[in-house]
């Protein structure tokens, strides 16, 4: 797994960086619909309108009858997907925002997630959750719910951070027999660009070393990978520290082996997540690392999460609520100075 981060965010885009993260999501659905008759899309405003973020734009015309507008009924949307999956389909459900999946919570964690274990019959559905914060979105359009779903047995939770992953992991998600919660980050939709959708062949369940380094490991996922890379670049420029960045890619299953291998090289770990601080991905990562790699550590492992309040509406508050490259830098300096 070599370094892999030839993508770039806003402002630094080059001429040949022509496809965006949301393009990748769109293309994956188009390819899936074209190649697999079992696939259909269900969600609010996804047909004529093309979805709140235009991820499905044009698909209802290309695939008539297979891109369906749903009522404002998240519970039923998920329940319909369960039933359709049981009858051999591969539904992709778009939640208008991840935050609204709270209404579908029961169907996801109690119906879809338990089904294979209980009955031996799999429920291959994919839920797309437009996740994470953007300026001005406030408490109900900014949430990161990966930790909630990952807590439950039976659901796969993926958190693509690159354009290529957005594409390949959605295709893979739909082809997996288990229910997959696909957390797509709204901040990355149009700002993250790449040359194309080609990935590096990793599959769900495998983390990636996004950036190699030897002094400390940052474990991140989704938008935070880019904040971590920025922080790493700054520390390198400013003080010559070499920070390794691990992109978890999927938070369940969690590829702790790759994380441990990195910590074996660096001796230091900072886990970064955009979700609320209690529990969640960073806690799971740290507690697995110390269970299996205690002896590898030269310093107390650190975490950096969002603050323990709802996501504030005002951009000035929001910018201080979630981790950023600056706060990651600060944490890393503390970690390195131990």
């Amino acid at each position: 797994m070599a370094g892999f981060c030839d993508e770039t965010i806003d402002g630094r885009s080059e001429l040949n960086m022509s496809v965006t993260y949301i393009d990748a999501i769109h293309q994956a659905m188009e390819d899936l619909l074209r190649d697999d008759p079992r696939v259909f899309l269900y969600g609010q405003d996804i047909s004529t309108f093309g979805g709140a973020f235009k991820a499905t734009k044009g698909l209802s015309e290309m695939f008539p009858g297979r891109v369906l507008d749903s009522p404002i009924s998240e519970d039923a949307m998920a329940g319909m997907a369960v039933g359709a999956a049981l009858e051999g389909m591969r539904p992709i459900v778009e939640m208008q925002f991840a935050d609204f999946s709270s209404i579908a919570f029961n169907q996801i964690v109690n119906h879809a997630a338990t089904h294979f274990y209980r009955t031996g019959v799999a429920v291959p559905l994919t839920m797309r959750l437009p996740s994470g914060g953007t300026a001005g979105s406030g408490p109900f359009h900014s949430q990161s719910m990966e930790s909630i779903y990952a807590h439950y047995p039976g659901v796969v939770v993926v958190t693509p951070a690159t354009v290529a992953d957005a594409y390949t992991m959605l295709v893979e998600a739909v082809n997996i027999d288990d229910p997959v919660i696909y957390c797509e980050h709204k901040f990355l939709y149009r700002w993250l660009k790449a040359k194309d959708f080609h990935g590096d062949g990793l599959s769900i369940g495998q983390a990636r070393i996004t950036r190699m380094g030897c002094h400390a490991t940052v474990v991140a996922y989704s938008a935070m990978v880019h904040e971590a890379v920025k922080a790493a670049e700054r520390l390198q420029k400013e003080s010559g520290w070499e920070i390794e960045v691990v992109d978890l890619r999927s938070v369940k299953p969690l590829d702790i082996d790759t994380v441990l291998a990195s910590v074996a090289r660096t001796g230091r770990i900072l886990a970064v997540g955009e979700a609320f601080p209690w529990g969640g991905v960073t806690a799971e990562v740290i507690s697995r690392v110390v269970a299996d790699g205690f002896h590898l550590l030269d310093a107390p492992p650190m975490r950096l999460n969002a603050r323990d309040t709802p996501v504030p509406y005002h951009p000035r508050l929001w910018a201080s609520h979630r981790p950023t490259s600056e706060s990651i830098c600060d944490s890393l300096k503390k970690l390195l100075s131990y």
């Binding site: 519970d75 039923a76 338990t114 796969v156």
Partner: protein, 311 residues
């Protein structure tokens, strides 16, 4: 018709249930036998032993689930009323009431997308109490928007656990909800077996013929506690003594005899046969191995390579 009887009587005789369908056998059997196993989708609820049998469920599935056999579809992982064979069109309910409505609708949507909806029906049963769930509302509404052949049987048995319908809904009749969903409503006396067979049969046929979702409200009384731990002290004697307090099995017996469909002897023979089949299933399940935690896979993912540590 014999099919119906058989399921009806088997249902009356099933042993060991924690949640019984007493008083609801006529409704449930009428539905189960109106459906076509192998073609239709059926999501039974807790009081649907009769419907399950009518839909062709092997008594062994029931016995195994209740007795915790490691064989059978649930393998001790889930029990009794939660059993099902989803690959064969009989969903395995979760406890959360109302959740099955959208699941059945989704199954029908799948059939439509596959071009296999013609002549297919999906059905589920729900109690008066469960009509208060958001899941019921969202599921039925979504099914109505898609005009799917969904039949929802509301068994209004006057209580949800201990809660009387006066604390559950404020409409005069749950049937009044049908128009609000744009689905066809049917009322039936749930203690009248022949009426159930007719009305539920009609509803299923309407759905099968492209009439969109159907809602049947069957009026009856739960003739037992909510579960076997409940003596139903809260059901007033007056209610028990009223019209819906009658046993639909006894009514059915009388109806069949009077109509000349079956003789008392034939019915008794059915009863004996059913009892024997139940005995045989129970006896078999009892001899089967129990689930063994050391043999258990402890794996919630269907995709083997996703098991932790597998990469």
């Amino acid at each position: 018709m014999e099919n119906k009887l058989s399921s009806l009587y088997k249902a009356g005789k099933i042993v060991g249930g924690v949640y019984l369908g007493r008083g609801q056998e006529a409704v449930s059997a009428a539905l189960g036998t109106a459906l076509i196993p192998g073609r239709d989708i059926f999501a039974p609820l807790i009081r649907d032993q009769a419907g399950r049998t009518g839909f062709g469920e092997d008594l062994l599935d029931c016995a195994r689930a209740y007795l915790g056999s490691a064989l059978g579809p649930m393998r001790g992982r889930d029990g009794n009323i939660h059993r099902g064979r989803p690959a064969e069109g009989m969903l395995a309910m979760i406890s959360h009431l109302g959740a099955a409505v959208s699941a059945v609708a989704g199954g029908l949507l799948a059939r439509r997308l596959q071009g296999k909806l013609a002549g297919v029906v999906g059905a589920t049963c729900i109690g008066d109490g469960a009509t208060s769930t958001g899941a019921f509302h969202e599921g039925l509404n979504a099914a109505a928007v898609e005009k799917l052949p969904l039949v929802v049987i509301v068994a209004d048995n006057q209580f949800a656990y201990s809660t009387p319908v006066t604390r559950q809904y404020a409409c005069a009749d749950l049937l009044d909800r049908a128009v609000g969903y744009g689905v066809k409503g049917h009322a039936v006396d749930g203690t009248d077996f022949l009426a159930c067979a007719k009305v539920i049969g009609d509803a299923v046929r309407d759905a099968r013929d492209g009439g969109g979702p159907q809602m049947v409200v069957a009026r009856l009384l739960r003739l037992c506690g909510h579960g076997e731990h409940d003596d139903a002290f809260y059901v007033p004697d007056l209610v028990k003594a009223g019209h819906y307090g009658r046993d639909c099995l006894a009514v059915a017996e009388q109806q069949l005899v009077e109509a000349g469909i079956m003789s008392l002897q034939e019915i008794e023979a059915f009863r004996v046969q059913a009892a024997e089949e139940v005995q045989a299933a129970v006896a078999k399940a009892q001899q089967e191995p129990l689930p063994d935690p050391f043999q258990e896979e402890w794996q919630a993912f269907a995709t083997k390579r996703l098991m932790e540590g597998a990469n």
